[in-house]
């Protein structure tokens, strides 16, 4: 009797120690993740004197919103903010819809070549876009059939076409997530709709999609966030068209200030924080859906 008790108390002591270790690890890493952001937010409020003052570590002595204003003006110039917003919202919508369609087709239907197309999705995810970016650039530079070509560079067309075709940025991952999710959904959902006489597409939009809200929000959030901060596609496909990520590097000079390293780095920093602001808001609202989709993908397996 006493032996069992002793063994049990050992176990609880072990559990307690593990709890403490776990807390230290998680707290430490959470600190590591959040600290740079707190740092940068405070940095953006500093003025150059604070930055050079060795007494100022975190809290700025002279609070100034000057650089926030510079960053905001730079972003607003020549419709950069508008272009960025339109691009990111449109891309996240298109990517979500096409990935959901493809994911549903691959996850729910049996047809010849299904495995081939699924393998292609994995390959799309595998091959880094940079590996074929030059050919792709030229393909969009001279887009068309035979001698009739148009130049789609410097418009939003290339990015949209890729998003529709399921080969946009990181879209292999989204399709994969949808396939896993749809595979796990109970079959009864569709069967009921089929018996009621609904077609496959009707079923998809009015029965399946409402049941997939969590994964839809997750994918749209990923897609928006990555497009919003992406530098690689704008650098490749836009020249005179500007989005926020391409102007942040030059934001200080862009508003007509004379180049100055310290000032411009504070302004860049403030611009980054402004860029992150909508993402943070979206993330706080979408968090619930993300954790839901984590616990729901493939639950029915």
């Amino acid at each position: 009797m006493s032996l069992i008790k002793k063994k049990k108390s050992f176990k609880t002591i072990g559990l307690r120690i593990w709890e403490i270790v776990r807390f230290v690890i998680i707290f430490g890493l959470a600190f590591l993740i959040l600290k740079p952001f707190v740092n940068k937010i405070l940095l953006a409020f500093m003025n150059p004197d604070d930055l050079l003052d060795p007494m100022v570590m975190l809290i700025p002595k002279h609070f100034s919103v000057y650089y926030w204003r510079v960053a905001w003006q730079g972003m607003e110039l020549s419709r950069t903010l508008l272009t960025s917003t339109v691009l990111s919202i449109a891309v996240s919508l298109i990517q979500m819809i096409s990935s959901a369609l493809i994911g549903y087709g691959l996850g729910r239907f049996k047809f010849r070549g299904r495995n081939f197309f699924y393998a292609m999705v994995i390959i799309i995810m595998l091959i880094p876009p940079q590996a074929y970016s030059i050919a792709q650039y030229l393909g969009f530079r001279f887009f068309g059939i035979g001698p009739v070509t148009i130049n789609t560079i410097d418009s939003l067309i290339p990015v949209f076409i890729m998003a529709i075709g399921g080969i946009g940025m990181k879209q292999g991952l989204y399709i994969y997530l949808f396939v896993v999710f749809f595979k796990g959904l109970p079959k009864d959902l569709e069967n009921a709709a089929y018996i009621d006489g609904a077609g496959a597409f009707r079923t998809f939009f009015s029965v399946i999609m409402p049941n997939a809200v969590s994964i839809i929000v997750t994918v749209m959030l990923f897609s928006f966030a990555w497009q919003w901060t992406d530098l690689s596609y704008p650098k490749l496909y836009f020249t005179s068209l500007k989005v926020i990520p391409t102007v942040i590097g030059e934001i200080y000079v862009r508003v007509g200030l004379t180049p100055d390293t310290i000032g411009s780095s504070i302004a860049q920093n403030a611009a980054c924080m402004l860029l992150l602001l909508p993402l943070l808001v979206l993330f706080i609202f979408g968090q619930k859906f993300i954790s839901q989709s984590i616990s729901r993908t493939g639950q029915a397996n």
Binding site: L32, R112, Y132, G166, A200, F222, Q268
Partner: protein, 303 residues
């Protein structure tokens, strides 16, 4: 009769399946496959661009010869990128697995912790990483603060773990590895957000009945992990490893990608740059193939 009807239903199902993946077929046919084929053709050509189009000038394997024989920077960049990758994959995958298992346990503030670990997925991407690199003025000021005026030793270079290991007389290379991992923990955390997400989702897929049965049989936590969790997660671990490979290539601070892009877009050496990309991708492909061959022995598919 009934069988015939069933067959036609199956056929209909097939057709509908094709309809759903129509976007993918479009993307593959119009952009993806042509790009890949063109890429392979480009590597054997010299490309020049003018207003009305681009022209190819067939030069055989000259691009490849140039890469391995004359270009002084290519091999250095390539080996750097590949060794980086080889060390990165196990660190990121093991770390993600560890964190995913931690976050899957029940404790107070679990939701908050999951949220925080997810933050890098959204925030540490694209331009923000790039700016973090370029505005190193701010960091250089930060480190200059860390210089100990008395001794002149740069304290920021001497992280705590390094000095502890030094004082314990450990091997230099070992110190290098451990301290490198400790110093790089921030970048590891930053690049393992999605992997944690995928593994966490997979962890919840594992039926609780498996654990219950094992517990009844008297297994301890260690056994539960190695006999149930690890085999059940193995397919997702492969996905994570592959994702890490791709992610390392697409981060803006990849030296190799920068080098290739500068060749292509500032010096107009499209053909040569494509060849370099192609070699790099072949190397990665070989790495994935070897990795896949080794790992497939351990992967367990629960179907």
């Amino acid at each position: 009769m009934a069988i015939k009807k069933y067959r036609s239903l199956e056929k209909k199902q097939m057709r509908i399946g094709y309809l759903f993946i129509l976007p993918l077929i479009f993307g593959l046919a119009v952009v993806f496959v042509p790009s890949i084929i063109k890429t392979i053709i480009f590597t054997f050509n010299d490309i020049s661009i003018d207003g009305s189009g681009y022209s190819l000038d067939f030069i055989g394997i000259e691009n490849y010869q140039k890469a391995f024989r004359t270009d002084p920077r290519f091999i250095i960049n390539l080996t750097d990128a590949l060794t980086n990758l080889a060390t990165n994959i196990p660190v990121v995958v093991i770390f993600s697995l560890f964190i995913a298992v931690l976050l899957n346990q029940k404790f107070k503030g679990r939701i908050a912790a999951r949220t925080i670990f997810f933050v890098p997925v959204l925030l540490a991407t694209g331009v923000i990483l790039k700016i973090e690199q370029t505005t190193n003025l701010l960091t250089s000021i930060d480190t200059s603060r860390a210089i100990d005026i008395g001794t002149g030793v740069d304290m920021s270079q001497m992280s705590g773990i390094r000095s502890v290991l030094l004082s314990l007389n450990f091997n230099d290379t070992l110190i290098g590895i451990v301290a490198g991992a400790a110093d790089g923990i921030y970048s590891v955390v930053q690049s393992s957000g999605i992997q944690i997400f995928v593994l966490l989702a997979a962890l919840q897929e594992i039926p609780a009945s498996l654990y219950e049965a094992a517990k009844v049989e008297g297994s301890d936590g260690w056994q539960l992990f190695w006999k149930i969790t690890f085999p059940m997660l193995s397919p997702q671990l492969v996905v994570c490893a592959i994702y890490t490979i791709v992610d390392t290539f697409t981060t803006p601070n990849n030296v190799f990608a920068d080098y290739v892009n500068s060749l292509a877009f500032s010096q107009n050496q499209y053909g040569y740059a494509t060849a370099l990309n192609f070699i790099y991708f072949l190397c990665i492909g070989v790495m994935i193939a070897i990795f896949g061959a080794v790992i497939s022995k351990f992967v367990f598919y629960n179907e």
